[in-house]
Symmetry: C2
Subunit: 130 residues, 2 copies
């Protein structure tokens, strides 16, 4: 079981930093932003708290975009669109995908509990600015 969490200003700051940034930042970005409010905060503390917040379900981790983990304060079910030019991440509504036919999976004996979708393409900025 996870150990009992005690309050900490740093964890609070990490969470607020994530919530105040619409982007889907990396640990490094959160570290830089958090430092503006607490110059003494350590990178390890940011990593530790991000992981704890993921563990507790307060935020989500996004893997596989580049070689860094990104973090998302939006815990509602949704998907992501990643621009293949600039790498920025956009949210996509959950209902873009209709009900799936899980029969083929069930026939194989697979029990589907969830699914993630990542869309790839070009964002408005990269389309317009050539």
């Amino acid at each position: 079981m996870g150990r009992i969490l005690k309050y900490s200003k740093q964890r609070d700051l990490v969470l607020k930093t994530l919530q105040e940034n619409v982007v889907h930042p990396t640990a490094d970005f959160v570290y830089a932003k958090a430092k503006e409010h607490n110059p003494n905060i350590s990178l390890a503390t940011v990593y530790r708290n991000l992981n704890q917040l993921v563990e507790s379900g307060d935020i989500k981790k996004i893997n596989g975009l580049d070689n860094m983990a990104h973090f998302d304060h939006n815990t509602h079910k949704h998907f992501h669109f990643i621009c293949t030019k600039c790498g920025k991440i956009f949210d996509m509504p959950y209902d873009i995908v209709p009900e799936l036919n899980t029969k083929p999976a069930e026939q194989k004996g697979l029990i589907i509990e969830s699914y993630d979708i990542s869309f790839h393409g070009i964002c408005p900025d990269c389309r317009d600015n050539h």
Copy 2:
């Protein structure tokens, strides 16, 4: 542009190793298997050739499962099911997902070029062997 590829026994071995293993192995696994046929092959050579084969479209790279890249000799369009217990990866047919409604994305100015879906759940083995 990519440079001209010359034949190499090692690249051949890496590709064959991938094709002969139904699993979706990591570079480490390919390295271990390839070593059985060529004990002198280097890990860097395996990485280099895996990346070249991805580049040339002969294989695909799967990111975001764990902290390691997995490789897939199946270049047909398909999705993946990852068992949350054992981590094994299973193929899912492409037609499990019906046509998507891309209107919401287009209204935001996003141009969708492709999408990946990863299913998560329990595989038959992990379900049966409790």
